[in-house]
C-alpha cells in the first residue's frame, strides 16, 4: 500500500525564517519520530521572495497523520519549545498544506 505525503509550506513572519529553520532543526526533527512523523526532505527556495520553509512528511495514512499531529502538538517538550521560541511573537504567518497521494508511476510510494 502506498503512503500519504504531506507537503507543508510555511510562510515565516518577516525576519523569522532563520528561527523557523533553527527550531525545526534543533527540536521538531527530534520530537517528530516519537509520533511517527517522518520528514522526507526540508528545503528553502533559492529566490525566497515569499520567505518560505518547505518540507514533506510521509504518513502511513491520513487517519494516522491526524492522530500523530495531534499527539505532537500535545507533546510537553514541543509546547515548551514553541512557547520559548515565540516569546517575541509567532514565527510562522501561515501554513499551506496538501495531503497528497503518490501516482501509480511515482518513485516515492
Amino acid at each position: 500500500m502506498s503512503h500519504v505525503y504531506e507537503l507543508r509550506m510555511y510562510t515565516a513572519n518577516p525576519g523569522k525564517l532563520d528561527a523557523v529553520v533553527a527550531r525545526f532543526r534543533d527540536h521538531a526533527e527530534a520530537i517528530f519520530p516519537r509520533y511517527k512523523l517522518k520528514s522526507v526532505g526540508c528545503w528553502i527556495p533559492q529566490d525566497n521572495t515569499k520567505n518560505l520553509f518547505i518540507y514533506i512528511v510521509e504518513h502511513e495514512s491520513r487517519a494516522a497523520a491526524e492522530k500523530n499531529w495531534e499527539a505532537f502538538r500535545a507533546d510537553a517538550e514541543w509546547k515548551s519549545v514553541k512557547a520559548a521560541s515565540e516569546a517575541d511573537g509567532p514565527l510562522v504567518a501561515s501554513i499551506e498544506r496538501y495531503f497528497m497521494d503518490p501516482t501509480a508511476f511515482s518513485a516515492l510510494k
Binding site: R25, V40, C42, P45, Q46, P102
Partner: protein
C-alpha cells in the same frame, strides 16, 4: 584606541568573509538542487495530464536526466493540482536538461497529439530549492 577598533573590525570582517566562503563551497559541492513543480491544469484536464506523465513524460524526462522523486495529486483538490519534485545536480544542469527535453522530437510529438483538443496545463509554479543541512534528501 582607534587602532584596536580598526583591528577588531578587520578581524570580524575577515571572519564573516571566511564563514561565507565555507558556506558557499559546502553548498556547491555536496547537495542537489530540488525543483518543486505545481501544475494548474486547465478545467477537466487533470486526468489527461496525469496519464501523459505516466505514459510518456516521465520516460522522456529520464532521457534528459530529469529525475522526479515523486508525483502526487492532493487528496482534497479544489485547485485541481498536480505536484512533483525533480532533483537536479545544479541549477545550470537543470536549465540545460529542460531545454533538451523541450526540444526532444518524441516529446514534441506526444505534446501535439495530447493537445489536439486543447492545452492541458494553464500554468506551472516552479520553485528551485536548496535542501537544509538536516534534510534527509540532500
Amino acid at each position: 584606541m582607534k587602532n584596536s577598533h580598526l583591528l577588531s573590525f578587520l578581524c570580524g570582517a575577515l571572519a564573516v568573509l571566511g564563514l561565507g566562503m565555507i558556506g558557499q563551497s559546502k553548498a556547491e559541492s555536496s547537495s542537489h538542487v530540488y525543483e518543486l513543480r505545481i501544475y494548474h491544469p486547465n478545467a477537466g484536464k487533470l486526468p489527461a495530464l496525469e496519464a501523459r506523465f505516466g505514459k510518456d513524460t516521465d520516460r522522456i524526462f529520464k532521457k534528459h536526466n530529469i529525475n522526479a522523486l515523486g508525483y502526487w495529486i492532493p487528496q482534497d483538490n479544489p485547485q485541481n493540482l498536480f505536484i512533483y519534485i525533480v532533483q537536479h545536480p545544479s541549477k545550470a544542469e537543470a536549465a540545460k536538461n529542460w531545454a533538451a527535453f523541450q526540444a526532444d522530437p518524441e516529446w514534441l510529438k506526444v505534446k501535439a497529439e495530447t493537445e489536439a483538443s486543447g492545452v492541458l496545463t494553464d500554468h506551472v509554479d516552479s520553485t528551485y530549492m536548496n535542501p537544509t543541512e538536516f534534510s534527509r534528501l540532500k
